[in-house]
Amino acid sequence: VVLAVSYMSDALEAAMREQEQRLGIRISMSHEKEPLGTAGPLALARDLLAEDGEPFFVLNSDVICEFPFAALARFHRQHGGEGSLVVTRVEEPAKYGVVVCEADTGRICRFVEKPRVFVSNKINAGLYIFSPGILQRIQLRPTSIEKEIFPAMAQDGQLYAMELQGFWMDIGQPKDFLTGMCMYLQALRAQHPEKLHSGPGVVGNVLVDPSAKIGANCVIGPNVTIGAGVVVEDGVRIKRCTVLEGARIRSHSWLESCIVGWSCSVGQWVRMENVTVLGEDVIVNDELYLNGANVLPHKSIAESVPEPRIIM
């Protein structure tokens, strides 16, 4: 697995070492010193990718779905073209790259990035498989794969689309992250219900790390994920939230549609809603009301935020 990163950190490297051990695979870092867009990084990692002459997958990391790697590989070998991408149906295609393809073969005729008029409701799901030949199309400079490479490949008849089964979400924005989380939990309920949390005060799909502690008289869920070492005190109500590792939610608070960052401390009788996002190590004082507050890391919040805004 090659990670194409523009920002390298010790924490990331350490985490990847851990994953290598756990999974028994090789993880390489390809570090771009200047931003290379969505295609340039492939050129940068050319040697690693073309190593064994086999096709390689490319994924955008801010996408969540039931990754159909085996089916995609099969589809790609069958048509023999240079590239295959996964498409999914959405209600608002204008936010994404839209794909027009032949119904029977899946060969892509047109590829339009963020069209202003309606073209099709099938969009690029951000998951590809390419044959190494594609690397000849990509130079080592900032390049957009969607705007420069794909349209050319489509014209050459070398790009094919496979429709995704199951859920898909671009989780780049906090609001969409929470929606994606709900979809993921729903799929988990269908496939591995034993992984979900159950018990008194648990409603709907809830995922709780075994090391987390939940107090008395809480009602948690639906659609809540609770990370390692989290402490939820008595009488707390949480709905549609992600609570990251090490956070503490103090008693009698009420949270809906929030992301609580690592090691945060949310006080007693706090109400947080409407995609409030707390960065790492944020402290929220008792009895406050946060409505759509986006709080940068290491801040202390001592006043309510009744209307959505960013707290720097």
Partner: protein, 428 residues
């Protein structure tokens, strides 16, 4: 010396800024720090030696709440208390003029007049002593206090001689700065006041005789000659005549015009309880709720031991407060029910209302600037620039708030059953 006291309680057309709370109970009976607003006045008057009778004066129709209150107040304070009903709104001077015989009956040598909608330490004994010290037993005394320059314009302004405290100039709500000493709405009169009021009455009659057409405005804006305002009509004329004095106090004082000011007044009285009525302040006890600061809890209220109350909280008769409830700077009226984990801040919860689990009911305090010792509570307008000014949240009587919602800076009229969150709204 035989004394009497008259408490001006107004009527339904007055005190409209106190709606929707005044729909259920006449404003003077609204509980402040656990007892009816006007009971604080009665208690202060009853303590003055020589107090023969307390007269409540207003133009409310006789009603059950008022009658019951009068009976119980008489029993508690052991002084005759009567209600005199004006046949129309006669102004702060017209009522006492109309009932002057009742006031003077029994040989009262002096009498206090107090506005019901003020909250005060009531330094009545001190006003009597001040009058004695300053020599003229026939003079009248206004209780005054200091306001800041900007806010003074909202009150009656008094200019007094620095040595004698004789009032040289009086103007009600001037548009330019006159004085920082303001009229507290508490007066000490002798029977001679009626002579001065009588003069105003005669002047009014003469003026009305000159304007025979209905609808043509007279100087006091009313069609009746009997409507007399002490402030504009009497004090302004008496200033500089050597008959009017001001006794300045630094004790606490505030007007109670809006619901927000009722919470502020509660705080002032609850503060006073540590000296005057320590038995009314709740204490931290094992097995009891956590009490922070000054809190009044009616003996029949039922409070879970995990609740945290205060500072400045009054809990009325028969109220239930569930587990993990937080109440701060609020008044909870009788029969209300706060379910588990609710958070109630800067709010008046109406009689028999219900607040569902995990709901947050919050208002914005309109407290005077704590850094200015002379700042007074603003009587703010309901709207500013077309938007509702953030203020205390008020739930009228029998309002139902569902679980898990937020009600912020809103006024909910009686008997409403809400189904979602509201912010900055008046909900009809």
């Amino acid at each position: 010396m035989p004394l009497k006291a008259v408490i001006l309680i107004g009527g339904p057309q007055k005190g409209t800024r106190f709606r929707p709370l005044s729909f259920e109970v006449p404003k003077p009976l609204f509980p402040v720090a656990g007892v009816p607003m006007v009971q604080h006045h009665i208690e202060a008057c009853a303590k003055v030696p020589g107090m023969k009778e307390i007269l409540l004066m207003g133009f409310y129709q006789p009603n059950e709440a008022l009658s019951r209150f009068l009976v119980s107040a008489q029993q508690e304070f052991k002084v005759p208390i009567r209600y005199l009903q004006e046949y129309a709104a006669l102004g702060t001077g017209g009522g006492i003029y109309h009932f002057r015989d009742q006031i003077l009956s029994g040989g009262a040598e002096a009498f206090f007049v107090l506005n019901a909608d003020v909250c005060s330490e009531f330094p009545l004994q001190e006003m009597l002593e001040f009058r004695q010290q300053h020599g003229d037993m026939h003079s009248f005394v206004i209780l005054g206090t200091t306001a800041n320059r900007t806010q003074a314009l909202n009150y009656g302004c008094i200019v007094a001689n620095a040595g004698t405290q004789e009032v040289q100039h009086y103007v009600e709500k001037p548009s330019t700065f006159v004085s920082e000493i303001i009229n507290c709405g508490i007066y000490l009169f002798t029977p001679a006041i009626f002579q001065h009021i009588g003069e105003v009455f005669q002047r009014n009659q003469q003026e009305l005789a000159l304007c025979p057409y209905l609808g043509e405005e007279s100087s006091n804006g009313w069609q009746r000659a009997e409507v007399i305002r002490l402030e504009q009509d009497v004090f302004t004329a008496l200033a500089g005549s050597g008959k009017l004095y001001v006794y300045k106090t630094d004790g606490f004082w505030s007007q109670i015009k809006s619901a927000g000011s009722a919470i502020y007044a509660s705080r002032l009285y609850l503060n006073q309880y540590s000296k005057s009525h320590p038995e009314r302040l709740a204490q931290n006890k094992p097995g009891g709720p956590v009490i922070r600061g000054n809190v009044y809890i009616h003996p029949t209220a039922s409070i879970d031991s995990t609740a945290v109350l205060g500072p400045n909280v009054s809990i009325g008769e028969g109220v239930t407060v569930g587990a993990g409830v937080r109440v701060r700077e609020s008044i909870v009226l009788h029969g209300a029910s706060l379910h588990d984990h609710t958070c109630v801040l800067n709010t008046i919860v109406g009689w028999d209302s219900t607040i569902g689990r995990w709901a947050r009911v919050e208002g914005t305090p309109s407290d005077p600037n704590p850094n200015d010792p002379y700042a007074k509570i603003d009587s703010e307008t309901l709207f500013r620039d077309g938007r509702l000014t953030p203020s205390i949240t008020i739930l009228g009587c029998s309002v139902t708030i569902p679980a898990e919602v937020v009600i912020l800076n809103s006024i909910v009229l009686p008997h409403k059953e809400l189904s979602r969150s509201y912010k900055n709204q008046i909900i009809l």
